[in-house]
Each structure stands twice: as C-alpha cells, then as structure tokens.
Assembly symmetry: C2
Homo-oligomer: 112 residues x 2
C-alpha cells in the first residue's frame, strides 16, 4: 500500500525537525519535513546550493526571505520556489500542531 504524507506524525514536540527522504535520484530529492514549533535560530539564514520547491501541506509557518521586509504566512496548500542562494529562514511554525512540508530539491543550473 502507498505511504501517506500525514501518517506517523509526532504526538509531541520533537527536539529537531523530522526529515525523511521519500525519493531521490541524480539531481533531485523529495523530502517530507515535519516541524513541531521549530523555527530557524536567531540570525540564521538558509543559503542553499539547490533550488527548492516547497509546499506546506498541514499546519502553518512564517517564511522570511532576507530580501523581503516581512515573513510570508503559509497555510496548507501554499507553495513557492526558493531559488538557490536566495537567503531565507523559518520565523515560526505552528506550536499547537505538526506542520508538514513537502520539499523538492533540484539543480536548475544542470544541463539537460
């Protein structure tokens, strides 16, 4: 039977985000990430070598780009593309329920 993106969610807060690779191949990686109130440390910015397409599937989060004044509030179904090297951080995630992200990492720059 298929696996489910909303299965095996932690019942209580975890010390770290739960990151699981669902599929991977040369140049692409699909991850489920579960946050339980996690946010990026103060002053920390992700600065990734890969492009990231990410959707929030459950919960809620504030995603901040360094080049934007305010965090974007994400609700279930919201998705966006984070180009490589666009610095960003997670200001907050829902403290009351698990936040489920689906992330696809890839390298746009690679040749076909």
């Amino acid at each position: 039977m298929p696996a489910n993106l909303f299965a095996a969610l932690p019942a209580s807060p975890l010390p770290d985000e739960l990151v699981e690779t669902l599929a991977a191949a040369a140049g692409v990686r699909i991850e489920r990430i579960v946050s339980t109130g996690h946010c990026s440390p103060p002053g920390f910015w992700y600065d990734q070598e890969e492009d990231e397409w990410v959707a929030l599937l459950a919960g809620a989060a504030g995603l901040r780009f360094e080049d934007e004044a305010e965090a974007r509030t994400l609700k279930p179904g919201d998705w966006l593309l984070i180009p490589a090297r666009r610095r960003h951080r997670v200001d907050w995630t829902d403290a009351a329920a698990a936040t489920v992200w689906l992330a696809v990492f890839f390298r746009r720059g690679e040749s076909a």
Copy 2:
C-alpha cells in the same frame, strides 16, 4: 504571495484533466493535476519514460498497476513512486469533487 495547490479548482467537471507545471528544470518537472471524475480509457496504460513520484492531496482515486490484480485506492496524503516503464492506469477518480495530484517527474537513470 505564494500560490496554493487547492486554489482555482474547477467548479464543474472538465472535458480533460487540468495539468499545470509548477516548476521545471533539467531532468525534473513538478505538476499539479486536477481530475474531475476522469479515468484512463479502457485498455489504456501509461508507459512512461520518466520516474514519477505522485501524491494524492485531495479527492480519491483508484490507481491500477498492470502487474497487480487490483487497483490501489488512494486517499489524501497517499504517495507512491511509479518507476519508469511500470505500466499503470487510473481506474477512477472521485466523481463528486476535484481530485488533486502532485506529481514529480524525474529520470533516475541519469548520471549525477
């Protein structure tokens, strides 16, 4: 603001599935597919050159592999990997509400 996977769903059945490419790069393509009761024609099998990671996010569907006796019933959150060349078809999708698929096509065979 971000786009939303559950936005702009058709209010009534469409003649064809609604397929939108959300992101694409060399060797990877992310699509939202909306079915409104669509199924594969009798005797038709998908026989794809690419690997497909697919999740059902809303609605319901019956996904049949040629090498399995019965269709798998998919509910929201269910996901699976369909390897290239594994023949499959969609036996049915929910006739009463939109079925939303998220599909990531990629080529596992390509070199890193």
